[in-house]
């Protein structure tokens, strides 16, 4: 029973990694910018949410909408404030964007550490209440987490497959140059990809904050779990990102049955290294 419990928690945590991973994947496959500053977006959303709900006691639903919107704005601000500059000035490569986004994450993380302190803060216990009998107790938060991830994933698939924007996004993922050649290389869609990806990350941030609280160091950890989920599943594959996230979450939680809690993250990343050893392009990816 303990194992079943851990699996459920793992699925919930993993779904949230996957959701953030989908956000990263959207930004990366449309713009080719390796945007580790999704960790900064995550932190800003989480702390705004914490301030509004736990400190100012504003109702949850309204706050969630505001916080996710702020997440989208963060993505837009980072793109317009930093990445689009690099793009215009020097046609930066992978490396330039990566280092810059790394700088953004470092600055945001430490500004928040100055404001809120580096200790973990928590929101009330509402979602930690459990449902179900005494044998198997599922925290409500886990169900919310899985629900939010499914909604986020479904919404994105809908946009990608049923709208003109989605067609454009997929085309950007396929061949950026061809698009530019035929006159469709608009930067507005880059900005839009940043906004949408950041919204997904923001949604993940809110639920995770409920489950685990938030600390400034979470920004980098989350960004890496999200990217690890994408790598596990196979770059460019949204379903893969979700699957990779679930795998990471389940493995690191089930491992808790045998190893001390301090090893949780190490186990998750250990799995990533082992998978990369055998399938460098991810579990659902095509051969390199």
């Amino acid at each position: 029973m303990v194992i079943l419990q851990l699996i459920i928690t793992g699925i919930a945590v993993g779904a949230l990694y996957g959701l953030a991973g989908i956000g990263f994947n959207l930004i990366f496959s449309t713009t080719r910018m390796f945007d580790i500053s999704i960790g900064a977006t995550y932190l800003i959303v989480a702390y705004v949410y914490y301030s509004l709900v736990a400190q100012a006691r504003i109702p949850v639903a309204a706050t969630a909408v505001v916080a996710v919107a702020i997440g989208g704005l963060c993505g837009l601000a980072f793109y317009l404030g930093v990445y689009s500059w690099i793009e215009r000035r020097s046609f930066g490569g992978f490396f330039t964007y990566f280092v810059a986004s790394f700088g953004v994450l470092t600055v945001v993380q430490n500004l928040l550490a100055m404001i809120y302190g580096s200790a973990r803060v928590f929101i009330g216990q509402g979602l930690l209440r459990t449902i179900g009998g005494s044998a198997l107790e599922v925290p409500k938060g886990d169900i919310v987490a899985i629900g939010v991830a499914i909604i986020g994933y479904a919404a994105l698939e809908l946009v990608l497959n049923r709208t003109r924007i989605g067609v454009r996004f997929r085309a950007m993922g396929e061949n950026q140059d061809l698009l530019r050649t035929i006159g469709l290389g608009s930067r507005r869609y880059w900005a839009l990809a940043f906004v949408m990806g950041s919204v997904l990350v923001g949604a993940s941030a809110i639920v995770t904050t409920y489950l685990q609280g938030v600390a400034p160091s979470d920004g980098f950890t989350l960004a890496n779990f999200a990217i690890a989920a994408v790598l596990l599943g196979g770059v460019g594959r949204y379903r893969g990102a979700l699957f990779g996230g679930l795998l990471l979450g389940v493995v690191e939680n089930v491992a808790l049955a045998w190893v001390p809690g301090a090893w949780e993250q190490a186990v998750g990343f250990g799995v990533l290294l082992v998978v990369l050893l055998f399938r460098p392009s991810g579990l659902l990816g095509s051969a390199v």
Partner: protein, 317 residues
């Protein structure tokens, strides 16, 4: 004040050695590692254990530290070099998380979070090194040796040319019948060994090692040094390490509470990275030349499917 700068000087020179090592990866081979402090730490832990339990001989400890760091680099590199260049960063972070956990949890060997204290003074033959100035001399000697060795490996030996070829055009390397993964593995191991050497001196100088010295933010400090000075040259990381190595600790001299100093130092590091990438993607070394080399855009890197697309890592150059 003088003592402050002697101490900062030892640490800056050691950081310079590690930055040079990291530049083998970032600048020469085009792979981005966020785990360099781990190898620095492995050298330090090895030296601390050897110093306490076997002998405080510096040459012996240096050898042991380099071997341990090199072996760990090998273990890390075997899965990591198989990943496409850009994602090496994630594999390196994964390794960093795992090793930080090992440092803090393998209590019987590493002393856990309390660390290992009371590392004796290093000795070279009959000579004991006690003063900070002694360690400064040792660090500078090691720095010069490192520069020399890396110059020969990277600029005079065929393997150096092959590494740069991996950075610039992996497909061409494969066409020559060489394995890019194997070459990257060599780079990772060389970088690990050199950082391990710096870590050995660190342990004897500070006479104390604990996990907090070798975590992710320390790795990033090394990255900043390399980027700050400019990647791909020997002088760049040196300049970067000295400027960052003196500059960032100097902020600690400001009369501010320690809860502010730490984040403030990190914010400065982050701002430096952003400003450099926007205005001088080539780093400080590129500024006097007054050139903003316009690198080829995405135009040359696109291929057909997103899953297999190769994005080259030399955009910063």
């Amino acid at each position: 004040m003088f003592a402050f700068y002697t101490n900062a000087g030892v640490l800056a020179v050691l950081a310079a050695i590690s930055a040079l090592a990291l530049n083998v990866l970032i600048g020469e081979t085009g792979i981005f590692s966020a785990a360099q402090a781990v190898f620095y730490g492995l050298g330090a832990y090895t030296a601390a254990l050897v110093g306490l339990h076997v002998s405080s001989s510096l040459p012996l400890s240096a050898l042991a530290g380099m071997v341990v760091a090199g072996l760990a680099a090998l273990v890390f590199a075997i899965p990591a070099v198989r990943v496409r260049g850009d994602y090496f960063i994630v594999a390196s972070f994964a390794f960093s998380v795992i090793m930080t956990t090992v440092f803090s949890q393998w209590t019987s060997v590493t002393g856990g979070n309390a660390g290992i204290s009371g590392v004796p003074e290093a000795t070279i033959g009959p000579l004991a090194i006690a003063a900070a100035s002694g360690y400064l001399a040792v660090a500078v000697v090691f720095l010069v040796l490192t520069c020399g060795a890396l110059y020969v490996i990277l600029r005079r030996a065929p393997v150096g040319r092959m590494l740069r070829a991996v950075r610039d055009d992996e497909v061409a390397v494969m066409a020559l019948g060489k394995s890019p993964a194997y070459l990257r593995l060599i780079a990772v191991v060389v970088a690990g060994v050199v950082s391990g050497l710096a870590g050995v001196v660190y342990a004897y100088f500070v006479s104390f090692v604990d996990p907090s010295g070798f975590g992710f933010s320390e790795s990033i400090l090394f990255v900043t040094m390399v980027i700050f000075g400019g990647v791909g040259s020997l002088a760049g990381p040196l300049i970067g390490a000295l400027v960052v190595g003196f500059g960032i600790p100097s902020l600690g001299l400001l009369n501010l509470p320690s809860s502010v100093i730490g984040p403030l130092q990190q914010i400065v590091v982050g701002m430096i990275l952003i400003v450099l990438m926007v205005f001088y993607p080539g780093g400080l070394a590129a500024v006097p030349e007054g050139l903003m080399r316009r690198v080829p855009g995405r135009g040359q890197t696109a291929s057909s499917t997103p899953g297999t697309e190769k994005v080259t890592a030399h955009g910063a150059r």
